[in-house]
């Protein structure tokens, strides 16, 4: 299959096809992408690293894609050599905005669905997003080699969703390569070529921005109008900042410098900036000498939805945590944080995230890549509180909740989509109701699959909603959500007191009807988790000065090793040293020694484990 690949910077838009793959985690997107790289000859068999596009270890381990990239691949149909740009999209609800920008860089999308599982809520949400962007959709069923595959059933489901004939749904196996060539052909035949004004001032949309230790920020763009050339000065239209184009090129899949990028082309550029915030996803790049009058539509600043306090277990790691966050920030435009002090946990940061997965990923990267031991406090959302004197306070941390009379509390809301087999509808409705949800719609996707749409408080889904949903539906339900306004609600702050002293890390803002159960749950959890001390420790839950729940940790009565065996002092000393080491892992709350594990376990949704033996 010898091909003469079109030359970047001089490619006729008519032979360019820009597409992305919309798929759920595990539905085989990366395997399919790998197969395409191989078939188009971009990656040799021997260089094939499983799932070439996913760079970070964590992504690979979790089987999810966090950061997208674009690869240019040659493909010949009927004697014409085409240039295909495959733009990888993040696959999780937390990164909806990034997905929308990736979609905006394409003319079409491959809708990839596991032939054994059918479409999932997030895929559906991204499909709707693609349809709103007028993308041409190519429906594809993957993993047809699996014994459990039901291609007919799910082909009908897909046809039902996007219109068309179930017979037109392509059936492929990324694993064996079956059907992938026809898919590439279909991409060329069915997707429209990009259209733009080659003589206009350049307008290129940034759809990804990645920090590289050696090269600084690598920015991925889709050129809409005009042309970008090496060494010219460019301008970021949102900030008006200008940079020199040190390098411009395409990924195939290793970065390859080119003589520029023209209309419809997709590639990368390097300007020497060191922070992804200087090269923001969604922003428009233009020529400095001849700037465009109007930027491309759709730019938005990332907005954190969920906040959590991150504290080093060892207080002396605080500067290391700051440094680590500063480094992560270079590669994560959505990460925001500011220093915060907790009476219980010491110095740390209040960190804003796009969602829970984003939180988990950041925490895991901090622990793994920077070797930090961290406590993260229970995630919370942003509340707007109006006090009696008509002042409005923005609360990102329960400890900021005003102490005086409160006139009104507003909480952020989401619109959630849940897909599940119809046998679980009852269980899902029960769960959503218990989370103060308001059902908006219920539709049958097929005979036995239902789409439920709910309006829910964000706070009700950030903690353990997804886990609960999964366990109530034996793993079959999928969830997607997007922010949708706010509502006034009857919310209160519940404080937890140890020996009469408030422990800010355990405070929570909850609905009034749930305050009591939160108090009971937290006090009994802490009673299990905090070892007995040399004195009695009352644990109380309170709203303001009103105690709503109480537990007691009895004083320890014995802490002595009776015997020293036949002069084996060494053993006794080592035990003492171990105990002293253990004490270092304790946080002092007033006079109460609280093990780190208690913070971690109390703030997680899991059941407490046995109290650690001394």
């Amino acid at each position: 299959m010898a091909r003469t690949a079109p030359v970047p910077a001089a490619t006729d838009p008519a032979i360019i096809r820009n597409f992305c793959i919309i798929a759920h985690i595990d539905h085989g997107k990366s395997t399919l992408a790998d197969r395409m790289l191989q078939l188009t000859g971009v990656v040799e068999q021997r260089d094939m690293r499983a799932q070439y596009l996913d760079r970070m270890d964590i992504e690979r381990e979790r089987g999810i894609t966090i950061k997208s990239q674009a690869v240019r691949m040659p493909w010949e149909v009927d004697g014409t050599a085409y240039a295909l740009n495959m733009i990888d999209t993040p696959g999780h609800v937390d990164f909806t905005y990034e997905v929308s920008r990736s979609l905006a860089a394409c003319e079409g999308a491959v809708l990839l669905v596991d032939a054994a599982q059918g479409i999932e809520a997030q895929t559906l949400a991204n499909l709707y997003l693609a349809m709103e962007n007028d993308l041409t959709i190519i429906p594809v069923l993957n993993k047809i080699d699996l014994p459990a595959a039901q291609p007919e059933k799910y082909a009908a489901e897909l046809a039902n969703l996007i219109g068309g004939d179930p017979a037109d749904v392509l059936k492929v196996s990324g694993k064996t390569g079956e059907g992938v060539e026809s898919l590439l052909d279909k991409i060329v035949r069915d997707l429209p070529a990009p259209v733009g004004d080659a003589s206009a001032p350049a307008r290129a949309m940034i759809f990804d921005s990645v920090y590289d230790t050696y090269r600084g920020v690598v920015t991925y763009v889709r050129v809409v109008d005009g042309k970008l050339s090496p060494r010219e000065r460019i301008q970021m239209m949102s900030t008006k900042a200008s940079h020199e184009l040190l390098e411009i090129g395409v990924s195939s899949p290793e970065p390859t410098p080119t003589n520029g990028l023209g209309v419809g082309e997709v590639g990368y550029l390097i300007t020497g900036v060191k922070d992804v915030r200087q090269s923001k996803v969604g922003d428009t790049i233009t020529n400095l000498a001849r700037p465009a009058a109007e930027s491309l539509a759709g730019y938005a600043d990332p907005k954190p939805m969920v906040f959590s306090g991150l504290y080093p277990i060892d207080g002396s790691d605080y500067p290391a945590l700051r440094e680590a966050l500063d480094k992560l920030k270079l590669n994560d435009a959505a990460l925001v944080y500011e220093p915060e002090t907790s009476a219980a946990l010491g110095f740390g940061f209040r960190v804003g995230f796009l969602g829970l997965l984003h939180l988990e990923i950041v925490r895991e990267r901090l622990e793994r890549e920077f070797n930090l031991d961290l406590i993260s406090t229970a995630p919370n959302v942003i509340y707007e509180v109006t006090t009696e004197d008509k002042k409005t306070v923005t609360v990102t941390n329960p400890s900021e909740f005003p102490t005086g009379k409160v006139l009104e509390v507003r909480e952020p809301m989401v619109s959630a989509t849940i897909l599940a087999p119809n046998e679980f509808v009852g269980a899902i409705m029960e769960l959503c109701q218990s989370r103060r949800g308001d059902m908006k719609a219920m539709d049958y996707l097929s005979e036995d699959r239902v789409e439920l749409r709910y309006r829910l408080p964000l706070a009700e889904i950030v903690f353990d909603f997804f886990d609960q949903l999964k366990s109530k539906t034996r793993g079959y339900a999928s969830l997607d959500w997007k922010a949708e306004g706010e509502q006034v609600a009857d919310l209160v702050k519940v404080d937890i007191l140890l020996q009469g002293e408030q422990v800010d890390a355990f405070s929570a803002i909850t609905h009034k009807d749930k305050a009591y159960s939160y108090g009971v749950m937290m006090t009994s959890k802490l009673r299990e988790l905090i070892p007995r001390q040399q004195f009695e420790v009352p644990i109380q839950a309170a709203i303001g000065s009103r105690i709503i729940a109480r537990e007691n940790i009895r004083a320890i009565r014995k802490d002595v090793l009776a015997k020293c065996y036949g002069g084996d002092i060494t053993r006794k000393r080592k035990l003492l040293e171990k105990q002293k080491e253990g004490k270092k892992r304790m946080k002092m709350v007033g006079r109460v020694e609280v093990p780190q594990e208690a913070f971690i376990a109390a703030l997680s949704s899991e059941e407490p484990k046995d109290k650690a033996k001394k």
């Binding site: 802490d559 090793l561 009776a562 036949g566 002069g567 060494t570 053993r571 000393r573």
Partner: protein, 409 residues
């Protein structure tokens, strides 16, 4: 001693000690511990380094044991001399086990004679053997006394049959007063060892044991809380739910009861788990451990300490005998304590005994803890004013916590 040896540095084959061992030796007493690693049966709670005849098989003979230990004593005398440790007479000798009285009294006497020949005994030296109440006779006790033994410590453990059964102790509790009488008749001082907190033991059971022990009129009583050691039969039975687990609160209540009853009966505490009638009745060998004196531990798995050097012998009697037959030191490993570790040990050990720790020996942070410890009722305020840290009853129960606070850094 527990059956798991610590991890330390390797010990040299000739057993020679590093130079620091000799420093200040004249100011420390010199004691000898002899481990007898034999028992008639193994008790379910015990993880000491001891073996039944059946466990040992034909490789090790109890008959030859006195000779083997004697070889280590000869080596000990040489090692100390060649390491520059000045010769001192023995202040105390203690035969522990295992069940020392499973060896014929003649063998114990032989070992003692050998030690006395090498170092000599201080006038009024304390020479103790542990004994099982049913492995002594009036004759054997007479023989021990004649050989120079001054004291016998009986493993009474409990006076309540169902408690003894959980512990796998085979002796008849009625045998104890008799054995005590025989020992008295032989002119020996007597100590009784008790264990409390055995699964299934009620507070009344424990009270009965205390009263039975007091009624025997010994000079000294030890009361140890039962420790469940990993790998013992009792630990497995608890894990399987066949017997209830031990409980710290139960231990605390029983300790308090013991202190109350023993004090009322005229026994005064002098170490967390030890009470004696008079100061002269205190076990000086036991005190040597807490005071950081020097002792040579002879026998398999035995621990020694000389001037901040601690070492321990290979565990198995067969390996032990093999080393000595080859003319090598039986030491398996050792550690040479630095100044900071010696200070830490000093605080840890000295705090447990009635003399207590001099406040002057504490670091600045530890000294700042003292007021809080007095306020919490763990340290005796009157003694603190006089410059000693002495634990209260409450403090003895929380002694490890007190030590950690005193060692704040």
């Amino acid at each position: 001693m527990p059956s798991v040896l610590p991890i330390g540095d390797p010990a040299p084959a000739d057993g020679l000690l590093p130079p620091q061992a000799a420093g200040g030796a004249a100011g420390r007493r010199f004691c000898l511990y002899v481990h007898i690693p034999f028992c008639a049966v193994r008790c379910g709670y015990c993880d000491f380094n001891t073996y039944t005849a059946r466990e040992l098989g034909s490789g090790v003979s109890q008959d030859q044991y006195a000779g083997t230990v004697g070889a280590e004593l000869d080596l000990a005398a040489q090692v100390l001399q060649r390491s520059g440790v000045p010769a001192r007479r023995l202040s105390t000798v203690f035969f522990g086990g295992g069940t020392p009285t499973l060896l014929p009294a003649e063998d114990l006497a032989r070992i003692l004679t050998r030690a006395a020949g090498l170092w000599g005994l201080e006038p009024g030296a304390e020479v103790t053997t542990e004994a099982n109440p049913d492995s002594v006779t009036p004759e054997s006790l007479q023989l021990l006394a004649a050989a120079g033994f001054t004291r016998v410590s009986f493993g009474m453990q409990s006076a309540v049959p169902h408690v003894l059964k959980v512990l796998d102790r085979t002796h008849n509790p009625a045998r104890v007063p008799e054995a005590v009488r025989w020992a008295r008749d032989a002119g020996l001082k007597v100590s009784l060892d008790l264990i409390y907190g055995t699964p299934g033991e009620s507070l009344q059971d424990w009270e009965a044991s205390l009263e039975a022990a007091i009624a025997c009129g010994p000079d000294h009583i030890s009361a140890y809380a039962l420790i469940i050691e990993e790998g013992t039969r009792l630990a497995a039975r608890i894990r399987r739910g066949q017997v209830p687990n031990i409980d710290d609160d139960d231990h605390a209540a029983k300790y308090q009861l013991a202190d109350e009853r023993l004090t009322a009966a005229g026994y005064g505490w002098y170490e967390v788990s030890n009470w004696a009638r008079t100061e002269a009745d205190r076990c000086r060998h036991n005190l040597a451990y807490w005071r950081g004196d020097d002792w040579w531990g002879a026998g398999p798995g035995a621990h020694s300490h000389v001037g901040g050097v601690r070492w321990w012998n290979v565990k198995h009697p067969l390996a032990y005998a093999g080393r000595l037959n080859a003319g090598e030191s039986p030491a398996a490993g050792r550690e040479t304590l630095d100044e900071a570790t010696r200070r830490l040990e000093h605080v840890m050990l000295q705090t447990r005994i009635i003399d207590g720790l001099a406040t002057a020996e504490l670091g600045p942070k530890g000294r700042r803890e003292v007021a809080g410890l007095i306020a919490d009722g763990l340290v005796d305020g009157g003694q603190a004013v006089r410059g000693r840290i002495r634990l209260t009853l409450q403090g003895r129960l929380l002694a490890d916590a007190v030590v950690r606070r005193l060692l704040e850094d």
